[in-house]
């Protein structure tokens, strides 16, 4: 399947902002399930854009602007060919040892409630890791209501679990917290998701999780959609949590308050179908 992405992140500053630095984790890499046909990152103001790799193996662009800017748009355009691998991620870049992905972070710390939930959701029945993970996936999908609004980019798994609501980022965090509590190496994935024609989900960046299976390797689990990762998923960056894989982290001097708008179109080039959605001031992945 071919998936085309057009992704604008638009910052507007109250006053001109100086010393802009943007750290962009917006470039996918190849693995057996996806081939990047073309990909471009274009900031709207003059500056330097350099690509490097971070500790996870993500491609990271550092953008630093030369002059003060009143607004900045980071435009991402690209096309990826994806293949159905039943969610298995192989042939990608692996830089970190597996136990690293058992580490708790403040966004994915399991509360006593999440621990109990993880235990209950996976108790009894087939105790193979794959089966345990599928039951956990289903349980998170059932338990947490998909609802943009009550949570933000800095909401922890604990908090969103308590309100029982959240967006794809929150569901991924809860899944990760629970799986790590079960001593399963798990990580956060940020990327894009191509919705069905009738998909009602608001579509901004998407997020899901990957868990490690002894024989199969890493498998994508999308708690927001309640499925393993499919051909419709474009995998961009990984991290221990949202923070490690965040599409954009930035800093600036001055500029006052900023307004952030995201415009995203994910479609199949030959069919030309698309969804467009913009969001307000949060940077959260909303898929």
């Amino acid at each position: 399947m071919r998936i085309r992405v057009l992704h604008d992140t638009i910052y507007t500053y109250e006053q001109p902002a100086r010393g802009l630095i943007q750290v962009l984790r917006l470039t996918p890499r190849d693995h057996d399930g996806q081939h990047v046909r073309e990909w471009r990152i274009e900031p709207s103001v003059d500056g330097r854009l350099t690509a490097r790799e971070d500790g996870f193996g993500n491609i990271v662009h550092w953008f630093t602007a030369d002059d003060a800017a009143e607004a900045l748009t980071v435009r991402v355009t690209g096309e990826v060919e994806t293949f159905d691998t039943s969610g298995i991620v192989r042939g990608g870049v692996e830089r970190l040892p597996e136990p690293f992905y058992l580490r708790d972070t403040s966004l994915t710390l399991p509360s006593a409630e999440i621990q109990a939930f993880a235990g209950k959701a996976t108790a009894g029945g087939d105790q193979s890791r794959l089966s345990v993970l599928h039951r956990l996936l289903e349980a998170v999908h059932e338990r947490i209501e998909f609802e943009p609004g009550p949570t933000s980019a800095s909401t922890t798994a604990m908090e969103s679990f308590e309100v029982g609501k959240g967006v794809c980022q929150d569901l991924a965090h809860i899944f990760i917290a629970a799986a790590r509590h079960l001593e399963i190496p798990t990580r956060y994935v940020s990327g894009y998701f191509l919705h069905d024609d009738d998909g009602e989900d608001p579509s901004a960046g998407h997020a899901w999780a990957e868990a490690l299976l002894p024989d199969l390797g890493w498998i994508g689990f999308d708690a927001a959609n309640g499925v393993s990762a499919t051909e419709a998923h474009v995998r961009v960056a990984i991290g221990l949590d949202y923070l490690g894989a965040a599409p954009i982290r930035g800093s600036r001097v001055g500029g006052g308050t900023e307004k952030l708008e995201v415009r995203l179109k994910v479609d199949e080039p030959q069919r030309g179908q698309s969804q467009t959605q913009s969001q307000g001031t949060q940077r959260q992945s909303q898929g």
């Binding site: 971070d54 500790g55 136990p99």
Partner: protein, 479 residues
Amino acid sequence: MALAKAFDEMTGPGDALAGAAVRDAYDALKSWLDTTPPEHFNTRRSQAEMLFRRIGITFAVYGSSDSTERLIPFDIIPRVLTKPEWSFLERGLKQRVTALNMFLNDIYGAEECIKAGVIPADLVYRNQHYQMEMRSFRVPHDLYVHIAGIDIVRTGENDFFVLEDNARTPSGVSYMLENREVMLRLFPELFSRHRVAPVENYPDELLATLRSLAPQSATRDPTVVLLTPGRYNSAFYEHSFLADKLGVELVEATDLFTKDDVVYMRTTEGPRRVDVIYRRLDDDFIDPLVFRPDSVLGVPGLMNAYERGNVTLSNAVGTGIADDKAVYSYMPEIVKFFTGEEPILHNVPTYRCREKEAFSYVMDNLKDLVVKEVNGSGGYGMLVGPHATRREIEEFGRRLKHAPDGFIAQPTLSLSTCPTFVASGVAPRHVDLRPFVLAGADEIRIVPGGLTRVALKEGSLVVNSSQGGGTKDTWVLDA
């Protein structure tokens, strides 16, 4: 109360103040104590306090409601080490810090010690202080720990143990320097009777160390700065004191910026390139683009400049793992593996609560053990079993049960005592020693002695200043 009769620095295993034989190193000091009229001591003690107040040396105590800053009590009776004792410690410290550096270089590089099973993989990789960013580049001169404070305790004539390796931002060296200065002013006669090795050269040694660590890209005259979190930090006094002594700029994050992967300092004459940053700020806060995004104490882009080899951070990022008390328990094996030698300085036997058997032993023996958080420091959140109430032990047991991985336990050591002025006169109080080890690209430097901390409460074994400890001048006798 102390468990058993502790080794006394002045009288050895004998009874401290009951006319027991005095160890040679303390001969002159003992007769000085015996022959000086008590009023003289009282006068000098209040002069010492005045001097410290004038210098303004204070220490903020976290979680203390009465005052945010207070004076750390200073005791005028010095702690004395003989030259052979110090030579032994010095050799041991050099070996230990060499091994720590090889270990850190290895866990962020070739990972030989993990492959060889010297230390369990998950203890390294799951550690919050293991910074995976450090895997992708080599730090300047392959050195991670440049300034270490190694806490040493003594239990007998020849029995020294390392209690903790402080490899992040160890503090206390300003007290070592101030204590000596005050002693020289108050008791010049003592220094004419003893040949005490100087410590005043510490700032020179530190500056030489920092300069030696400058990246290849730096000029022959590298610019060194001291980065502080600011005046609300508990050790801010020390930061400004050291910057002053070193003759380098004391900077906060807002004084620095990065451009094209180079760090600059804002000066009245325009931006000036910075080569070495002696940072007294934890990893988590140094760059909001890489670590905590809410940190306002860090410099955006600093890690990038670091990774590009354009600046040296002292200590390196990621040294916290060597501070971890569970990792500490593997230090004997780590020293052997990397240096090929037997460790000169011994560890205190340590029970790792993450191991089932050790955990149940610890739970059964809480009343006899010292239990510490693996990531804790400053004496916060620890249990000293023999001094705890039943309720404290029960409460601690519950915490321990909840997260065994987070704790280690050690037998309660009978730390050596040193004569100390207290309300009732001179009495033995437990002490430890924190020597400061400087590992530069050229050599390892250690100023003789270090900071002696003393637990002022009778029988107390907790010497941390945050827990009511005081300090003493530490003498290494040259002859």
